[in-house]
Amino acid sequence: EPEVTQTPSHQVTQMGQEVILRCVPISNHLYFYWYRQILGQKVEFLVSFYNNEISEKSEIFDDQFSVERPDGSNFTLKIRSTKLEDSAMYFCASDRGNSNQPQHFGDGTRLSIL
């Protein structure tokens, strides 16, 4: 079964630096998502992306964050000027966009800000 893949599995970055988290969604999926899970808290929606633009974003997804689909396969999340509180597990997901199709999740990237 095709999977969503994320790289790296663990990223350690100094506070204030920029990070790019990478995702390869399932190839015939059209909608892409980022979620995050701060340790001990619930999984939170960040952003959804369709047809090369953001379709919805949460209040967490402020100017510090951006997403991009730089080529036909990758979907990236960029976090600028990272803060300690950005430390979390970041999950990428994708689906076909049909209302009766569930999202498929990647293994996540654990981001640790020092």
């Binding site: 998502y33 999984v43 959804s48 009766n100 999740f105």
Partner: protein, 112 residues
């Protein structure tokens, strides 16, 4: 505001015991309901989903859930748990947009 509540944060059971994890949601309009499972060190996997039709849905690994619209609930059940069911279980809801709103999760520990 849209929200999902999972009442049990940590559940410990012995093998062969029956399981029921509670999930209530607050969401205006038509909802789609999900249970995801996260085994240690792995990604979120879909256990089962409800979109429409029979409110009793069956998922993988012997799990089932019942959608009770009047109670805004979607509780997860399994008649007899196994040690391999040890994991974290997340209830989630989506609506007109596909974004998922998750509950806080329930850690299930099954003792052999």
């Amino acid at each position: 505001a849209q929200s999902v509540s999972q009442h049990n944060h940590h559940v410990i059971l012995s093998e062969a015991a029956s399981l029921e994890l509670g999930c209530n949601y607050s969401y205006g309009g038509t909802v789609n309901l999900f249970w995801y499972v996260q085994y240690p060190g792995q990604h979120l996997q879909l256990l089962l989903k409800y979109f429409s039709g029979d409110p009793l849905v069956k998922g993988i690994k012997g799990f089932e859930a019942e959608f009770i619209k009047s109670k805004f609930s979607f509780n997860l059940r399994k008649p007899s748990v196994q040690w391999s069911d040890t994991a974290e279980y997340f209830c989630a809801v989506s609506g007109a947009t596909n974004k998922l709103i998750f509950g806080t999760g329930t850690l299930l520990a099954v003792q052999p």
